[in-house]
């Protein structure tokens, strides 16, 4: 069996350096790598400046980053349609545990668990609540912390910023609390 470079998932030692390259290209063109600031830009475009000065800034200067977002959307379309069989194989023990404990048995067969992301499950208030709560905390927390995985974990830590280290430690405290303490309560 040879590895199929197009269809097989990219190993970490390919993906990681390419992410670093993305950051360096953005630095080279005079910008910075940060994805969550686009959420603030979208608030401003939607007229949020009426409600808080936090959204009073020249969002036109951030248009470049929205174009990056547009590109990321197109990239997702290309990758999922032409470069992937859209399944993710994780550690079999973790997959088994997901099945046994939470009834999520789609690991290895899907890219996202249909139990949470299938369109027809949007009518399930429990699923809807998870998507809304998860998204809300990502948006709120990223702005409160002044950045997300790209802005802090990659850009900030690369620049040896102590605030970014504190933020990333926070990301992991939150993630570990969610998976190990809250999941057993939420998915029963």
């Amino acid at each position: 069996m040879t590895m199929n470079l197009i269809y097989d998932p990219w190993p970490w030692y390919v993906a990681g350096p390419l992410i670093a390259l993305t950051m360096f290209i953005l630095l080279y063109v005079g910008k910075q790598f940060g994805m969550s600031s686009n959420l603030r830009t979208m608030c401003s475009i939607g007229g949020a400046a009426k409600y808080s000065d936090f959204f009073k800034f020249d969002w036109r200067a951030q248009r470049w980053n929205l174009v990056v977002v547009l590109g990321a959307i197109i990239g997702g379309f290309i990758a999922s349609n032409f470069m992937s069989d859209n399944t993710v194989k994780i550690n079999p023990e973790v997959a088994q545990q997901l099945d046994t404990d939470y009834g999520i048995n789609s690991a290895g067969e899907a890219y996202l668990p249909p139990e949470l992301f299938a369109t027809e499950n949007l009518t399930d208030p429990f699923v809807l609540a998870i998507l809304i709560l998860g998204g809300f905390m990502v948006g709120f927390g990223a702005r409160y912390a002044g950045g997300c995985t790209s802005g802090h974990a990659i850009s900030g830590l690369s620049n040896l910023q102590l605030p970014s280290l504190i933020a990333v430690i926070g990301f992991f405290i939150g993630g570990l609390v969610m998976i190990h303490l809250l999941f057993p309560l939420i998915f029963r």
């Binding site: 969550s36 959420l39 997702g76 998860g134 990502v138 927390g141 002044g146």
Partner: protein, 137 residues
């Protein structure tokens, strides 16, 4: 012309996120279960190269394409906002299984439900903007 380069960077980034499976809920779950080295390898190798590259940029005072300083400003000192904000972000990241970059990528991949997550993330950002003066920073 400039916008075309930003679009290309975005496409490049989107493909990396999808192909590395960093945009997969399963990989995020597995990471927080310490079930695989994969996500740690992705973030860790990006970081290792990032740290070295930024040091090289600073040592040699390398400028951006238009001759200006690169965007490598120090972040404001604080603990509360980074720790509390970070924890809230982490709770959401693990629950939705997606951080902001991958959210857009998944929208392009055709997962309609991710639009709910994105809309909620925008709402979360909006609510932060409303109550930020009441929060410890």
């Amino acid at each position: 012309m400039k916008y075309l380069s930003y679009l290309t960077i975005g496409i490049f980034f989107g493909i990396i996120m999808y192909k590395s499976e960093a945009a997969s809920w399963f990989r995020i779950y597995e990471m927080f279960q310490f079930g695989s080295f994969h996500m740690y390898g992705v973030i860790g190798s990006a970081l290792a190269i990032g740290v070295i590259g930024v040091q090289v940029i600073k040592k040699n005072n390398i400028k951006s394409i238009d001759g200006t300083e690169m965007n490598l400003h120090p972040k404001n000192k604080s603990v509360a906002r980074y720790l509390i904000g970070g924890i809230i972000f982490g709770l959401g990241w693990a629950l939705a299984g997606a951080c902001p970059g991958p959210m857009y990528v998944l929208a392009g991949a055709g997962y309609f439900s991710i639009l709910i997550v994105i809309a909620s993330a925008i709402l979360g950002t909006f609510v932060y903007g409303i109550i930020k003066d009441k929060l410890p920073h």
